[in-house]
């Protein structure tokens, strides 16, 4: 079984709540779930959708085809009727959308009327729809009842009961009237956890001992701030909404200088404002993690949609020359692990560390097996407390063999901690002479690089062992590439390379991915941008050039059908 349920409607109609609730029900019932969303940059009206894929085997990518369409507006039907599978059904309330369809795959369910009949208000139409979807699938409403009870507990028993009645009314109606529904769900597995992209990034920060997060709200990064704010009291984190992105990065650098692990998050436009601060982090060797959620640009672009268009910017952001770390997770597990690694490396080497993602990853959810806490790294690399107190002398930017100078926490020791955005000497004071300048560049940049480089893991390989065709991508394309490889492996000797640790660019000692690419007959780089920014990075770092590129830049994520179709097209023409 592998079903896709799409809930479409206007902003403000509760599309997201229905989607979140259904996904949670499926996950708790043990199904594998993948969800993604699409919405306009508005609070009311327009057309939004929430799509859920549920299956009895792991699913990690969106699909075009729809098995159940829950239509809260006419546009949903106009846009998506043709994507319905042969056994698919559209459920809608003709009294709400003021239109009736007599076609066999339509099922008119009076959401609003049933809600009122169950002792509730018309607003509970959404709960009726939830029950109806479960009824069509033949999934018992027990988990839904538990979620209703938890959600409405504070509003009293009457509200809980009315919602349960509404759900049951929808469920019963679907069971009675969807007579030709042929959805069959397999027996359920063990209950699964469900995690979203921004939650994974936020949890990664929490699990890394992040103590300070400053940001200015901007889609698609705001979710990280919300997640950390929800846990700030319990974990002793200060989350501050800064007056602008320039303040956000400077506050985070101040907190980090003060002795707390610090992070900021933004999107492309906000990051453009932060860039001078990135350079400041490089010069003052102040640890900072920067989460950058990409969305289509230039300028305001498509504010709520997805793109991988800021990689080149991140690689070169900040005037002057200094090292940096750039990670781009493709799954929630990678988001947790790489945020954790970013926190470790930024403090260990005192270079800015980026975790870049995109709207698609931010707003998607996956079922997952949980977090192995033992894989999370936490080493305090700062010089603090007694160790600092007992030092006979201290210089913040002391020249060392590996370029890393002790990072003293101001006030902990009897020595001053001095740093400067100007070129400085080892004590942190302004220096103008050429010899000091040369020594400092060598320390900051050249001395650290080999050590930093050695921390970087090679790309993830999946597919045929000696592939004739290799598809390559990075970041949020992981899921759709992997499922595409699964599908295409029936016709081709195909494999994928997924890069999530982008800079310093991985070396080939551990895994000779360049040899693999050289041996392949055809290599394709897939990116959600117009110009192939990763392909350029690959060429710059290794000299390797892909045979071809697949680029998508309409602001919408690759679906499995779309990517498979494009790849087939490519491969047929070889």
């Amino acid at each position: 079984m592998d079903y896709s349920i799409k809930i479409g409607g206007e902003a403000g109609q509760g599309i997201q709540t229905i989607g979140d609730t259904l996904s949670r029900v499926f996950a708790r019932d043990g199904y594998h779930v993948f969800t993604h969303q699409d919405y306009d940059s508005r609070i009311r009206g327009g057309h939004n959708f929430y799509q859920i894929r549920l299956a009895d085997t792991p699913v990690i990518a969106p699909r075009d085809r729809i098995d159940i369409l829950v239509a809260f507006d006419l546009e949903s039907i106009v846009l998506d009727e043709q994507a319905l599978t042969s056994s698919g059904r559209i459920i809608y309330d003709s009294s709400l959308i003021k239109e009736h369809y007599d076609k066999p795959h339509f099922l008119d369910i009076p959401f609003a009327k049933l809600a009122e009949q169950s002792g509730g208000l018309a607003i509970m139409a959404n709960t009726v729809a939830l029950g109806a979807v479960l009824g069509m699938l033949g999934i018992e409403p027990g988990q839904l009842f538990r979620i209703i009870a938890d959600t409405f507990m504070k509003k009293g028993d009457a509200v809980v009961q009315a919602n349960k009645n509404a759900a049951m009314a929808g469920y019963d109606h679907a069971v009675r009237n969807c007579t030709r529904c042929s959805f069959g769900v397999s027996a359920t597995g063990t209950p699964k956890m469900l995690i979203g992209g921004t939650e994974a990034l936020g949890f990664g920060a929490l699990a890394s001992g992040c103590k300070f997060y400053a940001a200015y709200p901007m889609t698609p990064s705001t979710g990280i701030m919300n997640y950390l704010a929800a846990h700030e009291k319990e974990f002793g984190i200060v989350v501050e909404q800064a007056e602008d992105e320039i303040a956000a990065i400077n506050m985070a650098l101040g907190a980090s200088f003060g002795g707390a692990r610090a992070m900021t998050g933004t999107s492309g436009g906000g990051f453009a404002l932060m860039v001078e601060g990135v350079s400041l982090a490089g010069m003052t060797e102040t640890p900072i993690v920067i989460a950058l959620g990409q969305r289509p640009g230039p300028a305001t672009g498509l504010p709520t949609r997805t793109e991988q268009g800021d990689l080149s910017m991140v690689l070169s952001a900040g005037h002057g020359e200094f090292p940096r770390v750039v990670f781009a997770p493709g799954t929630p597990q990678q988001a947790i692990a790489l945020t954790n690694k970013a926190f470790d490396l930024t403090e260990k080497y005192q270079v800015p560390a980026f975790v870049i993602f995109d709207t698609f990853l931010a707003d998607s959810q996956w079922t997952f097996g949980g977090v192995d806490e033992n894989t999370l790294q936490y080493t305090d690399h700062r010089l603090r407390g007694e160790a600092f107190r007992n030092l006979p002398a201290y210089k913040r930017h002391a020249l060392t063999q590996n370029g890393v100078s002790p990072l003293g926490v101001p006030g902990d020791g009897p020595h001053v901690v001095v740093t400067d955005s100007d070129e400085h000497d080892d004590a942190g004071h302004i220096a103008e002479d050429g010899a000091t300048r040369t020594a400092m560049v060598e320390k900051r940049l050249f001395a650290k690089m080999p050590y930093l480089q050695a921390e970087i893991s090679p790309p993830f390989f999946y597919g045929a062992p000696d592939p004739e065709i290799v598809i390559v991508g990075w970041g949020s394309l992981y899921g759709v590439m992997r499922e595409a490889v699964d599908g295409l492996s029936r016709s081709y000797k195909i494999a994928m390379l997924h890069f999530s640790q982008l800079f310093p660019f991985p070396l080939t000692q551990e895994f000779d991915f360049l040899g693999l690419l050289d041996r392949a007959q055809h290599t394709i780089c897939i990116e959600q941008n117009a110009t192939g920014q990763f392909a350029r990075l690959m060429k710059t770092e290794t000299g390797f050039e892909f045979n071809s590129q697949v680029n998508k830049f309409d602001g919408r994520p690759f679906t499995l059908e779309r990517l498979t179709g494009e790849l087939n097209e490519h491969l047929r023409n070889l």
Binding site: K233, G236, V238, N250, A255, E373, T419
Partner: protein, 283 residues
Amino acid sequence: MSTFETFKGQVPSWCPGCGNFPILKTFKEVMVELGMEPHQFTVVSGIGQAAKFPHYTQCNTFNGLHGRALPVATGIRLANHTMPVIVTTGDGDCYGEGGNHLMAAMRRNINVKLFVHDNQVYGLTKGQASPTTNEGTITKNMPFGVISEQFNPLALAVALDCSFAARAYAADTAHLKEIMKAAINHKGFALVDILQPCVSFNKINTYEWYARRVYHVEADHNPEDRKAAFAKALEWGDRIPIGIIYRNNRPTFEERLPMLAGKPLAHQEFDRSKLETVIKEFS
């Protein structure tokens, strides 16, 4: 015990006769009199002549970007709310480039002391108009004179209910010392606008110009009367008041954060055991 010598820093690169010298000397005396050791406080600065200040004394120092000292200072205070944090800045750095941060810092009431060396001109870039340059002043890049109205930091402070707002004059060091001490001892954000002659680029607002105009605010001025403070803040021209213009007892930003009720963030242990309950939120 610290002495004046404890605070000896690098040799200043300021012009001879610069109004920054008496400010620096007074600052060191204040630190000695308050019993501070260099590692016990942090000075944050941006870019400009005033921003070089921390290098010319001894202190924890973050000399950052143009206009961005206040956000850095805010971050330091939030990481360690037991660390006194002072920002040394100029009229261009703070009132021009960093204006948004000034408003935000006043509104937050972060417990940072802001010493603005206000020489009414851009010194480091050689004589352009700053936000506090008198209207009509002719500069190389403004041949028709400054058109924008002169910025009034104290009126802004009163308008935003800034918890401490004072003006001092670099050459009146005894008075400057009292104001600096009052600002440091005040609980909350404190703005001290320090009138500071620039001997190289400001030929209008000279030592003589200021000496003829500045006067100590009257003993009966009540800085806690916001309307009286606003009237005082608007005084400029023939007579310029120096002293504490406005003060209130608003709680600080740090006091209002429950996470900072105990030890500073920088000294709080990371408790991994709590992660288990957070992971359960995903089920």
